[in-house]
Symmetry: C2
Subunit: 154 residues, 2 copies
């Protein structure tokens, strides 16, 4: 195990509490992948940011501990796991979208958005959120996961 504490519950400020959950370099990027259609270990490894497998394992574990991520076996194979966001995890879209808007406003020249999201984004922040969550719900019913139960399967 690489590590188990993040920042270590240093204050009762909600911002500090929030950062304690997702305020590291990788957690929000994994949440992003999960929001936009990636669900397997290998898919996260293959993202542009090229996370190491040990860090990915660690962060997936922490996100599960916090009830942000859960998983089930792939229906076709017990050697594949399908990770997905719980309600708590999906709610982070309301943090991610303002972050994207800020980054586009001030670093828009360096930023590039995958074509798949371009269209949804054109409909404004609210439309983008609705479209993204609707796509996730399609996936959830296709794979029969219920994001109401935040329980971690071990």
């Amino acid at each position: 195990m690489v590590s188990r504490k993040q920042h270590g519950q240093i204050s009762d400020c909600p911002i500090a509490l929030g950062l304690d959950s997702i305020g590291d370099h990788w957690s929000l990027l994994i949440v992003r992948d999960l929001l936009f259609g990636k669900h397997e270990f290998r898919e996260f490894l293959d993202s542009d940011e090229s996370i190491s497998s040990n860090i990915l394992t660690d962060r997936l574990g922490k996100l599960q501990e916090q009830g942000i991520v859960a998983w089930r076996y792939h229906p076709d194979s017990r050697k594949r796991k399908l990770y997905y966001l719980t309600c708590k995890g999906k709610d982070l879209i309301h943090v991610l979208v303002p972050l994207v808007r800020w980054a586009l406003k001030y670093h828009g020249d360096e930023a590039r958005i995958p074509p798949a999201q371009q269209a949804a984004l054109a409909s404004g922040p609210e439309g983008f959120i609705q479209a993204t969550l609707a796509a996730l719900e399609d996936w959830e019913s296709a794979f029969e996961v219920d994001t109401k139960d935040a329980a971690t399967r071990v």
Copy 2:
């Protein structure tokens, strides 16, 4: 100098770019302090999270490099610096507020909010943002800082 690169520009995803600016344990907490009336080195040191002075120096430097924070001397003394948020920095309130809402929703039992913010928060997210920014602007005109110029004074 403790460090100069954060994550190191690993992809052109706006989320990764945003995290590169503020995705560490301390930067957003400093921005929070600056949003809510703290302006001096010692005040940041005295926050509940008890940041180390070397880390504080480092992060203030990085935030200045990125045009999120600037400073001027205290009118009463050239040995005191007054740090303040640029427009780019103040805009992060639109990221912080959703983060607070998320944390309150899922960690509300552990969270505690200073009385000063309780009232403003009661008027809803938009009212809170307006009240916070209005208070900042009062400070800015009292100390004659112009947050339109993001230039770093050295």
